[in-house]
Amino acid sequence: MTAVGSKCRVCKAPAVIDLPRHNAKFCAEHLQQLCRRQMAKAIDDFDMLSIDDRILVAVSGGKDSLAVWDMLIEAGYQADGLYVGLGIGDYSDDSGGYVRRFADERGLQLRTIDLRDDYGYDIPTASKATGRVPCSACGLSKRRLFDQAALDGGYDVVVTGHNLDDEAAVLFGNTLRWDIEYLARQLPVLPAADGFPKKVKPLVRLTEREMAAWCLVRGIDYVVEECPIAAGNRHLSYKESLNAVEANSPGSKASFYLGFLERMAPLLAGNSAAAAGALHRCAQCGSPTTGEVCAFCRLVEKSSAHEPVPVEMILPRRAKAGRR
């Protein structure tokens, strides 16, 4: 026997989720309504998108990027996807499969780039060759390739699936270090600038629990497994810390991040390198950079000359233990 649970705040149908930060429970239909309204509010409040924009969505196969692609299409936007194959063993193979199935089933346009085939390296090799932590090599590669693909493809804007938890965790880390340069740039909209496309984050008002629930009630199949290299990284520990605060004080993450945007970010405007006019052209590729040669060109040069490194060689200790 299965007991009947509690009711949706809106329609009194059986609830599928409780959201303590809203002090409410919702059925599948009204959970979706909440998510749609939160995304629309973010888009309106920060002037992220116009309905006739050509949008490029950075998709990984995870819940957030597939959810935001789904939500934008449902809302009537014209959005193509871009998937970057990172060469992180079976994890990348699986992730790419989820993205391709999502696009195929919905008849959506998907662009793909493969780091190994197209640039001669992968993330494990880049980490070893450059001494960067893997997540840093990954982030640098993806940011650059998304920017380039958007500019080359004539897109108006790049959309990423960064959610409230992502942004609150980054804000937490930047605040712990009082990194004014990064804090000044931590905005949900980065306007187009010379050599950079406009970049926006429509999910900043939604948590990752809400995004996972969106995928479940919409029947979106996504990669649930965590990236094996990311296990135990600092970003995840910040999320765990913030969730501990949230458990005792629901709404804290939203208050922390959205309050920063409303009251602190305006005070920091003008403190980034771009705002200070410190950028010039990379001597090799012409992209904006603060150095002689940009970080991406330096990474590609070192990594493509390095012998390929299998993912197992750079797994964190915790992930290796879990595989035994």
């Binding site: 299965t2 649970g5 599928v16 990284n233 458990a247």
Partner: protein
């Protein structure tokens, strides 16, 4: 009841007759970081789980930023 856990993927047997929130507490898992799926349907924290149910506890935290 069978409970599927992720990261790493594994299955454990847990006695029924408890709520979703109680199951997460008993497994030492945070409510803000997990969803619970009962017999293929998402359920809220006060839903009752019984012997014979098939349960998935799905983590929702992901992160690849440095």
């Amino acid at each position: 009841m069978k409970v599927l856990l992720r990261n790493p993927r594994r299955e454990v047997e847990v006695a029924g007759g408890r709520s979703v929130d109680r199951l997460l507490d008993d497994l030492g898992l945070g409510r803000e970081a997990h969803l619970v799926i009962r017999n293929g349907t998402l359920v809220p924290g006060d839903a009752r789980l019984e012997d014979g149910d098939t349960i998935e506890v799905r983590p929702v935290i992901s992160g690849g930023s440095a």
